[in-house]
Amino acid sequence: MSTAAPGPHDDRVHALLSARRAGCLSRRAFLRGLLAVAAVGHASAPFADIAPHAHGGMEPARFWAVVRAAQAQLFPAGGDAPGSDDVNAAAYLAAVLVDPGVHADEREFIVDGVPLLADFTRERTGREFDVLAGEERETVLRTIENSPVGQYWLSLMIYYVLEAVLADPVYGGNVDRAGWAWLDHHPGFPRPPQGFHATRR
């Protein structure tokens, strides 16, 4: 993830975005392209030469601490709203990351964004993302959002939190129908049985 100010890489990003919009670029080439742009000029970015890795090269515990902290910022508990932890959003995302029904490139992009967020936070603040206070997390995420790469990554993270809030509980999120109850949403019937997993690409 690049920095806030429009930088020398913007032209490349715009080219990638419009090629993707026109359908000329596969999701793989698009996401790889975005990550490559993000990695340039980012001293500690581990993605100059990107190799897919289960936890983006991070310790699994670190990886998930950052994910959970980011999800909590994107979807906090409070009022009558269930927070990301209440709907098991991290475990839900872990299942998504091995779901063949989700495009492999999208899964890798999500994974690879986590160390970028972690490194960027460390460079900016000297601390880990997950120990930051809410306001500091917000500042970091809003900064990241200023780059198309970061915005795309955040949009995916939000989407999968929303799946955890609203998909059928058989998929591991929406614990005790907390998301449905909060929004007074009626899911229809019959519902998929426990253990059901329909997926197709």
Binding site: F75, D99, L141, P187, G188, P190, R191, P192, T199
Partner: protein
Amino acid sequence: MAEYDVCIVGSGAGGGPVAARLAAAGRAVVVLEKGSWAHEADFYKDERAMVARRAWKSGLVAEPRVLEDRNADGTWTAASTATSERDYWNGNLVGGATNFMSGYFHRLKPLDFRLRSEFGPVAGADVVDWPIAYDDLEPWYAHVEHAVGVSGRIVAHPHAEPRSTPDLPWPPTAEHPFAARIDQHCGAVGMHPFPVARAILSRPQGRRRACEYSGYCGGYGCASGAKGSARAALLDAAVAGGHCEVRPHAHVTRLLSDATGRVTAAEYRDGRGMTRQVTARLFVLAAQAIESCRLLLLSPGPRHPQGLANASGLVGRNLVFSSAALGSGEFDIDALPGAEAAALARPGPFVNRALQDWYVIDDPALGGRRKGGTLELVEPHPNALPRANGLKWDAHGKLVWGVPLQRRLVHEFRRVRRLNFEVFADWLPNPDCHVRLDPSVRDAWGVPVARVKLGYHAENAPVAAFLAARGEDALRACGASGVHSRIYDSPPPNLVAGGCRFGTDPATSVLDPDCRAHTVDNLFVTDGSFMPTGGSVPYTWTIYANAFRVAERIVDQL
């Protein structure tokens, strides 16, 4: 000796009626369907599977298409759906897309069969009259009402089409509270809202249960059997009768023809990847418009060097679509009368209202009398994910998250109820809307894929805009606020027809008036490809009716 009397390719709205009728007549029928065979018990209201993970649709990477769109500067961009991930599959399983349709059923109107004589030529559009009239199809529309199961209530209105029977065989499905609101308020401003027929049973019939009002209809398989899919309504009974065999996982790759030009066999790939053949006396193609065109083009033979049935070069030409615009308005739930608000708490019942006051438009601003269309008033689909996900963007393209996102969700799900409309208008057949074989892109088995050019005629837009404005009027008349609408900039793929238009002249049509290929004695095409123009309605009722009509011709000749 052929193995079967009739081999049908594709098991949806075009294939089901032919299989049912011929099996009832005691003919040996085989239906080849590339998808799997799911049953009522397999259908869950699982939004993640159906909406987010594309259950029961062909793979985008294994089976791509190439779509060509016109850019603002008039140039064209072609992209494979494997990379663009635009979904142009509508349901690939026994029963086809009819498993997932919403079942809003409309007949065409008498004038739809003679657009050219009625409204004259349109420059740059290939509008022609049909070789049959409404009266030829009317008995078959009536037949579908019983055979597939159509519910509703017939109400006179200025553009109602003539009927041979007074009413529909099934009473209407349960009504959404907004139906009464529409009748009252649209009626008060001089519009004529009428109940829309649905291919949904309001009372049980045989093995099929009545609608259970789960609220999740369009886009989902029906667990009660109430929806009139080709599978639940027609194929299940045909198979039980003993004369019809359905082979799922049978992906037809070409039709083989002999030196006389007749089709001898269908070649298909089975579930294990083995190439097999079926022989029959007669073949019926019903793989949905785009795939039927592709299959004909993939099947040259000794007498058909340009592809089967393609001596005219017209196979794939004049593809048409139907839906043209969408609109929405909202109601603050606290401002609605208590009983109405309470009734709105659960999804389930249907609005089932439409307006056809502008089926013909006579407005000087639009250049005088011309063809208009249908405004369908509908409850929003209860799917939660697309609705929620749309709320994460603000008006400036920035992301919304945290408490502001949660507030938006609460507003959308708990504070407002919406009434939407969909506009159906004629898609003018034009030289830039067609199917060919792509010269380079192949599917996972090395077979050239369909290349679909999606050019639209400039005259579509003013009609869509006119109707969308009337839709906004209707919503406002009903008391909605925040009313907005949007004209589609690319055609929705679920309502597609044309590509093998029927007609009397072999030089200007692919099929004869009975939907038999002009140049192939024993080949019929019965999905929506036969339609030279699409009418201003969704057209599955027409596809069903025509397929029954053609089935009768086939019975006569076998």
